[in-house]
């Protein structure tokens, strides 16, 4: 087909093929590698935090040599701890949890799963990756800024974040770089979400009606909608914050503020305003991190239980409901910040309402598994791990949604446990599930199943060992954001628990090397994968592994079936490809 070859000629030069590529598959892998770098960086930063929390007064001569300022006098300084905390949160939330599940897997698989040859706007797609890359580079620069990395937390609450160097180390150049990086990231996320939405709405293959789209596509679509409308609000806040820092304005800085024994010459701003703008973005952001994991989990549970997703339409509705509700719950982050009880009650009710679609999803996952012929692949284990973590992390959300309970628990480790389990670890398990599932498609080789399973079991035991005890710490009143808890008499007896968590964290971090080894080893030496090693039904499995530049080659996919036709009674095989002839189901 000569005309076809002319349409989708693959680039041959190294730079056009691997660096400034406009192929959505290459861009997807670029995003995943960026996220892989970011997750390890973020993990190392958390290791520093754990070190300080477990042994606050211990001296570390070796570390003192590497970071003379951060370990001035021997033990880690509180400022260094806060810098680690800020950068850990920021890097994980933006450059891992937003980047990998949405931009990484979404870029690679959304076009293929809807039957398109690329994204709607490939050049914008390339730009979105490189803009993200610049944002990451600026954020890494913040780590090395004069005065140190910012210490205002990933939420960068004003006025602390708005005052500059006077408020503390890291709040000068470091904090400015932080804001600039986030602003750049906002632009990249606009380009990504615009592409996802347009591609899903306009480039579907013939027969790919909306209700034949895999749940992964629904999840990415909804997530893109959240990103499209949430990030600009963060950008608005970021611009105002930057102007407060460099332009002398007083958007967030109140009058009469005395910091470091100096009267701040600003007046009349509202710190609460920053919190509203930030959390209006911040809460949808939580779902930006978790929704793709839900899509991937539904997809994988169905594939390895050899059953259709239970109540597909309800699943689609639940994704939308969660996405919609995420816009009207941001106030629950601010019960402690001064809010009228009436507003608190409204936000509490909307927050509790998230439990309904979440429960719909959870029960549908269980119903999908019920009576299935389950294949316990490593990918399936991660997906099951996702369900487990989603439930354990979600249940505590229902407690925290109640203002009266939240007031007691908000600034404690209870919240740390809650958001790490649901937003951090569950989303990471979604990434692991997706990676083990799609690895053969992306690289043409299988990941090692045994290593995958060993990694899974150590990781799931590890993360529960890390985060479960934090609930007790929180209920006992251990304060988060503090570099040292041994200064409180009532918390000193809890110190062994902190040490236990730290040891568990180090073991879990070490276990990630198994994954890294498996990932890179399998890429070159893994068993060769066929087109459809998992006997799955969606469009990515009808094409070779790895797929050609134009995804479908000369064929133009025509979709005749829903995405999850497993074990259809009377069918010849236990799964019907989406592109199979229409009558195959009845044969």
């Amino acid at each position: 087909m000569a005309g076809h070859a002319a349409v989708m000629e693959a680039p041959t030069g190294f730079i056009r093929k691997y660096i400034f590529s406009i192929d959505h598959k290459v861009i997807g892998i670029q995003y995943l590698l960026l996220a892989l770098f970011a997750v390890f960086l973020g993990m190392v930063l958390s290791a520093f935090m754990r070190l300080r929390l477990a042994w606050p007064e211990e001296k570390w001569p070796l570390l003192q040599q590497i970071f003379p300022q951060g370990f001035a006098g021997g033990p880690m300084t509180p400022e260094f701890y806060l810098a680690m905390m800020t950068m850990h949160g920021t890097i994980m939330v933006f450059f891992v949890l937003t980047t990998a599940p949405l931009s990484g897997f979404g870029n690679y698989f959304l076009p293929i799963q809807v039957g398109a040859r690329d994204m709607a706007f490939p050049i914008l797609n390339m730009l979105s990756f490189w803009i993200t890359f610049v944002a990451m580079a600026v954020m890494v620069m913040a780590l090395f800024a004069t005065g140190g990395a910012p210490i205002a937390g990933w939420t960068s609450y004003a006025p602390l974040s708005a005052l500059g160097q006077v408020a503390g180390p890291g709040l000068g150049a470091g904090q400015t770089l932080w804001i600039v990086s986030i602003a750049i990231f906002c632009v990249a996320s606009l380009l990504t979400s615009l592409n996802f939405l347009t591609t899903t709405l306009n480039l579907r293959a013939r027969g790919m009606s909306l209700l034949r789209m895999p749940l992964t596509v629904w999840a990415w679509f909804t997530t893109a909608m959240l990103a499209l409308l949430a990030f600009p609000v963060l950008l608005a806040g970021g611009i105002l914050l930057l102007l407060d820092r460099v332009g002398g304005t007083s958007f967030f800085i109140p009058g009469g503020l005395v910091v470091s024994d100096q009267l701040i010459p600003h007046q009349g701003g509202s710190p609460l305003l920053w919190q509203h703008l930030f959390w209006f973005f911040g809460h949808p952001e939580v779902y930006i991190a978790i929704l793709p994991g839900m899509g991937v989990t539904s997809h994988i549970l169905s594939t390895f239980a050899r059953k259709p997703v239970f109540a597909y339409k309800a699943m689609v509705g639940a994704i939308f409901a969660i996405g919609f509700i995420s816009y009207i719950v941001w106030g629950h982050h601010m019960f402690m910040s001064g809010m009228s009880p009436f507003s608190s009650m409204a936000f509490s009710i909307t927050t509790l309402a998230v439990g309904v679609p979440s429960a719909i999803k959870t029960f549908n996952w269980l119903a999908t598994l019920w009576g299935g012929q389950i294949r316990f692949t490593s990918s399936m284990l991660y997906a099951l791990g996702f369900v487990s973590l989603f439930v354990s992390g979600g249940v505590t959300g229902m407690l925290l949604a109640q203002p009266a309970v939240d007031v007691a628990l908000h600034d404690t480790y209870f919240v740390v446990a809650h958001f790490h389990i649901i937003m951090g670890v569950a989303a990471i398990f979604g990434i692991f599930a997706g990676l083990h599932f799609w690895f053969p498609k992306m690289f043409g080789r299988m990941m090692d199943e045994r290593l995958g399973k060993i990694h899974f079991w150590i990781t799931i035991a590890g993360v529960y060992a890390i985060f479960m005890p934090m609930h007790y710490l929180g209920v006992a009143g251990a304060l988060r954001r503090y570099a040292q808890l041994t200064e409180f008499d009532f918390l000193r007896p809890m110190q062994p628990l902190h040490q236990f968590i730290t040891v568990a964290a180090f073991v879990t971090i070490a276990a990630q090397l198994i994954f890294v080894f498996n990932f890179f080893y399998s890429m070159f030496k893994g068993k060769r994968a066929g087109a459809n090693p998992w006997e799955a039904t969606t469009l990515e499995w009808i094409i070779p592994s790895p797929p050609p530049h134009d995804n479908f080659g000369p064929i133009e996919p025509v979709v005749n079936h829903g995405p999850y036709e497993y074990s259809v009674p009377g069918a010849a095989k236990d799964h019907i490809m989406q592109t199979a002839p229409a009558e195959e189901a009845r044969r």
Partner: protein, 231 residues
């Protein structure tokens, strides 16, 4: 399967034929290789630009909410009178929009000859050129006018940090100006590439740019109302 039946999906893929940032996936739709032009390529451009504008809307809604909250806090909020020059600037921007609309319509009348649309550059109608250049000139004039208005205000001693109202004035007009600058880049692209683009591609891009440009008009009027009329 004959090539002609490849639906629009294939259309949107031809990579790389356009300038950066122009949202270019959709070259194939202009009918190379005997394929039909795709009605979806036009939709895709329109959808893309509207989604982008939804995002822009959220940005300015965020700023608006900050404006309203800050105003209600009162304090040293001191509103200055609108510089008269802004009225002139508004008229200039509206004229620019009208010119672009004329330019866009100059393309609407042309039907590609034969069953297939032109593949290579078309003779662009003179009206398109005239009105496009008028739109660019007026757009630039607006930005110059805005800069002069800033100058006048600072001469009166009203700076970014003088009071909350002036802070919002400079922030909102500055953000609007930046967005307009992006629109000017798109107009510049159309000006530079108008002779080399296939007709349908030129039409699609002009249309998308016009949507964005008109939106910036509306946004400007909204910002004026917010800053100087809304109480």
């Amino acid at each position: 399967m004959p090539a002609a039946t490849i639906p629009a999906t294939g259309d949107l893929l031809r990579p790389g034929a356009g300038g950066p940032g122009a949202g270019d996936g959709s070259f194939g739709g202009d009918g190379d290789g005997g394929r039909r032009p795709s009605p979806r390529a036009r939709q895709t451009h329109r959808l893309g630009i509207w989604l982008g504008l939804a995002s822009v809307t959220m940005l300015f809604l965020g700023l608006t909410s900050a404006f309203i909250v800050r105003e209600k806090l009162g304090g040293e909020w001191a509103e200055f009178a609108m510089p008269p020059l802004l009225v002139v600037n508004t008229l200039v921007l509206l004229a620019s929009s009208a010119a672009l609309e004329r330019s866009k319509r100059a393309l609407a009348g042309i039907v590609p000859s034969g069953a297939r649309p032109a593949v290579s550059g078309v003779e662009v109608p003179p009206a398109y050129n005239t009105w496009l250049l008028a739109a660019v000139a007026l757009g630039l004039l607006f930005l110059v006018g805005q800069a002069v208005a800033w100058q006048q205000l600072s001469a009166r001693g009203i700076y970014l940090s003088t009071n909350p109202h002036s802070s919002f004035f400079y922030t909102l007009t500055g953000m609007h100006g930046l967005h307009l600058l992006g629109g000017l880049v798109a107009l510049g692209y159309l000006t530079a590439w108008r002779g080399r683009l296939p007709l349908l591609a030129l039409r699609r891009r002009t249309e998308a740019t016009a949507i964005y440009w008109h939106f910036m008009d509306g946004l400007w009027v909204y910002l004026l109302l917010l800053l100087f009329v809304w109480k």
